[in-house]
């Protein structure tokens, strides 16, 4: 029997019941789409992580407030468990083998120049080493200096696109803008850097860290919050010294906050640790999708098996007629197997389209980077084919073993 004949007969079998065929394919469609989306998300995440490592380097240490400590300390009215700007200064002064320390404290404000205003701008209170440690180039003017920090100068440095939005092509340097209610003088503009991870560097604006303490901290909280900082970034000069520097920082902070290293209310993590955390969250999501994919494919396969069994019963007489005119058990088995395969592959094709579309939707709506890999489409197709053959075999075999006399008598 020729392949074209086999395909034609199988296609006729399916097209007799189009809606039923579509419903049967649904499980496979969902399974295949999930496989493609899952792989697209993990590929997108991996690409993002790879870029982050490239952009930030691996020689950064993040000193952050430990979880849960803040609230306890705040209600107790104690200040000793907060990470402070003084801690950063102490790290700069007494730890060897580091090439830069940056403190960041982020707030969100409305930024305004003349009639142009941008709401919800990420305002970063920081220190002079920021461009070096964060690897952002100065575009024009200057960055925040130690002197700005010391006197809490009313200056601001703009990110590239923020400067564009507020000033267009005009030179912003020397102009005065409002950040919240505070009037600041623009002293510099950063070069274009783009988006790294979830951060758009070009939309940020930078002010001296001490200015955040003085002008942007709600006064009733000022007493408790004081010069509290969120994160201290430490750039280590030599990668091999990473562990040594971590230990030194931990000992220093323990001493300063009158506690032990074990009870330290801060964590000192490397860039890799943070990436690992990011990865584990996406991995959890990915695993979930992998399960959805596997379960859908199995359910889809059972659906195909079910409908093929119904089909064999419905078409018993047809099977008998074909047997009488010379169809061998192999011909009959091949016909129903091809039908199951055609169902699962058509489902697979629709699933691929849904998967590619779904990946795009995740990117657009879910703000999740996705990359559809050609191999994932291949994998999805193979999975669909395996499901079709595996779950189609039993009904097809059942059809091939029908007794021609019984089958011809079937009504």
């Amino acid at each position: 029997m020729r392949l074209s004949e086999v395909l034609r007969i199988a296609w006729e079998g399916i097209s007799r019941n189009k809606l039923r065929a579509l419903l049967t394919m649904l499980g496979v469609i969902i399974g295949v789409a999930a496989v493609i989306i899952m792989i697209a998300i993990s590929a997108g995440t991996e690409a993002t992580i790879a870029e982050n490592i490239q952009n930030l380097g691996t020689n950064l240490l993040f000193v952050t407030q430990g979880m849960g400590v803040q609230m306890v300390s705040r209600t107790a009215g104690m200040n000793s468990n907060f990470l402070s700007y003084d801690d950063a200064k102490a790290i700069t002064d007494s730890i060897s083998g580091i090439s830069g320390v940056v403190v960041e404290r982020n707030i969100t404000e409305l930024v305004k120049y003349g009639s142009n205003s941008i709401d919800g701008v990420s305002v970063v209170g920081t220190t002079p080493s920021y461009p070096q440690v964060r690897d952002v180039e100065q575009g024009s003017g200057r960055f925040i200096t130690q002197k700005d920090i010391d006197v809490s100068a009313k200056v601001v440095v703009l990110g590239y696109s923020t400067a564009q939005t507020l000033f267009g092509d005009a030179d912003p340097i020397g102009e005065k803008i409002y950040v919240g209610d505070v009037k600041l003088t623009v002293v510099g503009v950063m070069a274009e850097k783009g988006v790294v991870g979830n951060t758009d560097y070009d939309e940020r604006v930078y002010i001296p860290l001490t200015l955040v303490f003085d002008k942007f901290t709600f006064s009733p909280f000022a007493r408790v919050q004081g010069n509290m900082v969120g994160t201290i970034l430490v750039q280590v000069a030599d990668l091999d010294n990473m562990d040594k520097v971590i230990t030194q920082i931990q000992i220093l902070l323990a001493k300063r906050h009158e506690t032990t290293v074990a009870d330290l209310p801060f964590t000192v993590r490397t860039q890799e640790d943070i990436i690992a955390t990011q990865e584990s969250t996406t991995a959890a999501f990915r695993d979930l999708l992998a399960w959805v994919a596997a379960v859908s494919l199995v359910v889809g396969g059972i659906g195909i098996m079910n409908i093929m069994l119904v089909s064999v019963t419905e078409r018993t007489r047809e099977i008998g007629i074909r047997q009488a005119t010379g169809a061998t058990p192999g011909d009959i088995r091949g016909q129903f197997l091809t039908e199951a395969l055609l169902l699962s592959l058509t489902g697979g094709l629709i699933g691929v389209i849904a998967g590619v579309g779904g990946s795009w939707l995740f990117y657009k709506l879910g703000d999740m980077r996705t990359e559809v890999l050609p191999n994932s489409i291949l994998l999805a197709f193979i999975s669909a084919a395996v499901v079709g053959i595996f779950f189609g075999f039993y009904p097809a075999n059942k059809a091939s073993q029908l007794d021609p006399i019984e089958a011809l008598r079937h009504e």
Binding site: E12, A324, T325, G326, T328, P329, G330, D331, I405
Partner: protein, 245 residues
């Protein structure tokens, strides 16, 4: 065995097991049919004529005995071999036509060619062949019609075309006029008579004595045995075991 003998069965029995009871449907039948004969098998229901038909049509195997179809022993063949024999050597005509209802007349006639294994036929030649056969039964204008759009007589003629398309050695007709009015039935019998005149070997089951008149030879079955054989073509030497009265 001479090539003149199309069917040669010897001491065929068929025993069905129903629970603990053995039912003997065929009780040691021996029969020989010459090429070109038109044989009618008659008998009351339960006489075993359907069972004999199934065995002659290679749809079933005898419990014991041998069956030579055109010189080839088919009594011990497996399902696949039997399917090939049915495809190449046997054309069926059923009482209820047994056409695929969703396929056109032409597609129905093409079906035995699809399952053919001996010799490749191009798609164009297949269509040509099927059309020729449809024309020979007077249905050249009905090839794109589905069975539901045709009368019973037309449907049975499609079935005859299907039976003929692979040029089988033997045509088996099981009550071919059973579902037809007398006029259509007569048409069908005339087609069979023409085929016989062209030298085809035909075995027909019927309980209609008028149909049996078209056949050159009539066999009566009773209780799984041949009770009567008006064989005027061959000497009844081999029939003796069948129990001629």
């Amino acid at each position: 065995m001479s090539e003149e003998t199309i069917i040669d069965i010897d001491q065929i029995t068929k025993i069905y097991q129903m629970g603990h009871v053995h039912v003997t449907a065929l009780d040691g039948i021996s029969l020989s049919v010459q090429t070109g004969e038109f044989l009618a098998i008659m008998g009351p229901s339960g006489s075993g004529k359907s069972t004999l038909m199934n065995i002659l049509g290679c749809l079933d195997r005898p419990t014991s005995g041998t069956y030579l179809l055109a010189g080839e022993d088919v009594s011990q063949m497996n399902r696949e071999q039997l399917a090939r024999i049915r495809n190449q050597k046997i054309g069926f005509i059923f009482q209820s036509y047994n056409l695929l209802t969703q396929a056109t007349a032409l597609q129905n006639v093409l079906m035995p060619i699809v399952y053919r294994r001996n010799g490749h036929i191009s798609n164009k030649d297949r269509q040509e062949l099927a059309r020729q056969v449809l024309t020979s039964v007077g249905l050249n204008d009905r090839e794109q019609h589905k069975p539901t759009e045709m009368s019973g007589g037309q449907q049975q003629r499609v079935a005859i075309a299907r039976a003929l398309v692979n040029s089988p050695a033997l045509i088996l007709a099981d009550e071919p006029t059973g579902n037809l009015d007398s006029h259509s039935g007569l048409e069908i019998m005339e087609i069979l008579q023409n085929l016989h005149a062209q030298g085809r070997s035909i075995v027909m089951i019927t309980h209609d004595a008028r149909n049996a008149e078209f056949a050159g030879r009539v066999i009566h079955l009773k209780d799984g045995k041949i009770s009567e054989d008006n064989n005027h073509i061959v000497s009844p030497t081999r029939i003796a075991t069948g129990g001629t009265k």
